[in-house]
């Protein structure tokens, strides 16, 4: 449970840095950047099939708990953000934050559990390294591609 608590603390700290005063759109951008960072790091170790299966589980469970996240879809090329972005704009911020928090925490937790917590530290480090203020992912030089483009393997190599 130590790692699970650490995961929660890490996600909450990221939310603290990111969500305060952010617009819905900024929050979705930050979420996409965070999820993408986690995906990219996990992909280095796990590869497409395994990571896809894990993400499928995480998104399935998240949709059950937070229906807002059901718009996050896993396709053959990765996670598609367009539908989620569109839906998020119509939601109260609190509901969105709840869904975002759940997805990130569940992703960290499941990845940690399945890898015997081997990946937990590096994954949290990815989250902690993200800047506190975010711009749209397309505009950011570091996160200059969409999550889906990253998942296509363009920059998924170590």
């Amino acid at each position: 449970m130590v790692d699970e608590n650490e995961h929660a603390a890490c996600v909450d700290a990221w939310l603290e840095r990111t969500a305060n005063g952010a617009s819905v759109e900024q929050l979705v951008d930050a979420f996409e950047a965070a999820f993408t960072a986690l995906w990219r790091r996990a992909h280095q170790t796990l590869g497409d099939v395994t990571l896809g299966a894990i993400a499928d589980r995480v998104l399935y469970v998240a949709a059950e708990e937070h229906p807002v996240t059901s718009a996050l879809e896993l396709d053959a090329t990765g996670v598609s953000w367009a539908a989620f972005r569109q839906r998020a704009t119509a939601l109260p911020a609190e509901q969105l934050i709840g869904g975002v928090r759940f997805v990130l925490l569940e992703f960290l937790t499941v990845l940690g559990t399945l890898t015997g917590e081997v990946l937990s530290g590096p994954l949290r480090a990815e989250l902690e390294a993200l800047p506190s203020s975010v711009t749209r992912a397309e505009d950011a030089p570091e996160a200059g591609s969409t999550a889906s483009s990253k998942m296509n393997g363009e920059d998924s190599q170590p």
């Binding site: 099939v49 395994t50 299966a53 894990i54 499928d56 589980r57 399935y60 499941v110 559990t113 399945l114 015997g116 917590e117």
Partner: protein
Amino acid sequence: MMKKTKDLPRITTGVRNLDDLFFGGVPAGSVTVVGGAPGAGKTILTQQICFHNASAKRRVLYFSTLSEPTAKTLRYLSQFSFFDPSKLDDGGVQFIDLGIILRQEGLEQASSLIMARVKKLKPAIVVIDSFKAFDDLSKSREELRKFGYELAVNLMAWETTTFLLGEYAPHDFQTNPLFSIVDALVMASQREQSGEQQRFIQIVKMRGTEHSRDEHSFVITGNGAEVFAPRVTIRREDREPAADRLKTGISKFDELLGEGIPRGSSLLVAGVAGTGKTILLLEFVYRGALAGEKGIVFTFEETEERLRASARGLGWELDREIERGMVEIVFIPQPEILVEKHLLMMAERVAAFTARRVAVDSVSVFLHKVKDPQISREKTFQLASVIQNTQAVGLFATDIPYGSSQISRFGVEETVVDGVILLSATEQGLERQRYIEVYKLRNTAHLKGRHNLAIGSGGLTIFPRYRADGDSIEAPASVDVTHRMSCGVAGLDLLLGGGLLQRSVTLVSGSAGTGKSTLGLQFIAEGARQGEPGLFVSLEEGPAQIIKAAEALGLLPDGPDADLVNVMYLSREHVQASQFLAILDDEIRAKQVKRLVLDGATQMAIDGLIPEELRQLLYTLVIRFKALGVTSMLTLESKAMHSTETITDHGFSAISDNIILLRYVVSSGEFRPSLAIVKTRGSSHSFATSFYSIGAGGLHVEAGATPPPAAGPAGAGPVGAGPVGAPRKRSKAPRGRGRR
């Protein structure tokens, strides 16, 4: 510095001893193939794991493919005690038939259905029975590999522990891609071994954890699967040996066993049929119970009731000991023996009963179906490990073949036990004599050789040929040249230089009617008058007759001294020569005997005891007499009536200090009894031949008996006295004319 590794979370199987083969259970989240031919027990084994783990919060998904219909599965399941109908469906275990989808839509749809169900139910365990159906329906090896891999990955992502059942054989391991995908491979099989059909289980592969690689037997009963893995579950613990040792409490057996049997030891009790193995084992447990030690008997031939009856016949209150919980008898009928199963059962019973004594009657029957001596050796070792781990003491009977030089049935068991007790029997005349021998006992000085054993009322009676206090190793105690004892015949004392030296051994050789017994009685009676307890041992006549004869001659002392005369009759029909030592030893100690006559010692030679054995026996006897401070007289029957040439008829002269010959000589045309002293050790004596008569008061040496020319080292002190000038002391020995 070694990096600390994390233990994998595991699920317990609920199958007895199976978790031990995995060194702690099946790793959670693993994918395991359970393979084997139809009927090997795959399904029961897996279903038992499912029902053991299932609950409303911990779900199990059981997919059946193109094999057994679910309805049948449930019907068969209901016969097992692990089956709990309340655990079906929402209670935990959900059965799903994939048959239609597989038949109509193929692998991909089946996979989708499986994952849809998994996502919906989030089960802890998923079973696909049989996965072989996917093999059969796949169009290519590539398709099968892809399907298998994706299914395994998806199930992994959901952290399910998965069992894929299939009719796989070892040749599939190298060709079927499934076996490179899965984490573990468990094979179930059945074949004939040791004359019966047996089931076996083996973990061929298990990623990420140590496990047993051996094949282990298992059974399926109404309780489900039960694995027997004594190689894994019975491991010999490294223990400090206990300081105390076990005394059996069996008559004289402990004398043979020296300081006792070390705790944790196992001893084979080996012998052909009828040598007393069962009685020895039963008495071992019974005596233990009387001494406050719990004992357990595992028997494969004799039922509990028969053993109880045997015990009653021997006068033991075994029934009482069983009733008060000190003894337990476990009967396992020979045809029902399953070695590994019952080995574990024995281990559990010994531990549960906290038995300090364990009897197994017999290991040869227990292992009779085992053909491989190495397996017999291993199983005996495991049995011995049970004993060592519980710090009990075990006696394992083993039947050895007639006419064999083996000391165990299979010729290997003796190498893994701590000791071997050999029981044997030989024919002597018309009788069969039993013997016991401590052939081996680790870390314990014990009496060597065979010792006579009798079984009768009260149980075993053992007659050690010698004692452990070293009397056979050290030189025999010498005669005491400072003390002389009157032999009760004044004239003879003179001829002997003043009497017999204390602790000396005197052979009195004579033909029938020469008065040997009378002389012996006079020797004992004189001792009684001096306050010295005496023992007259007769091998021919009963005590009443001897006492009557002694009274007729007026030999016995009057008053309380008479009680110091003890007469014992040892029937040659009931007492074997080899038992004499133990019997006399006991009597001498009990009555504090100072003088002893063994009348008719040559009778011991009857019934097959060859002269060398008799000589050895007499030698052992006189050494013991000397060691106990007894002055003894042995009378020997001589065939010669008037010759002096056969004084050493049996070559006994070497064992004696004094030899007195009673012979007839022809004088003035008539036979007249005469005596001559042909040997005295440590003293001078008269070499003259003297006439004597027998009448009231016994033997009388006629006047003219010549005293010795010079006194020996002790001088010719007053007859019957102790040291010259020393006051007489009366012995405080117990009184009573013993009769046997």
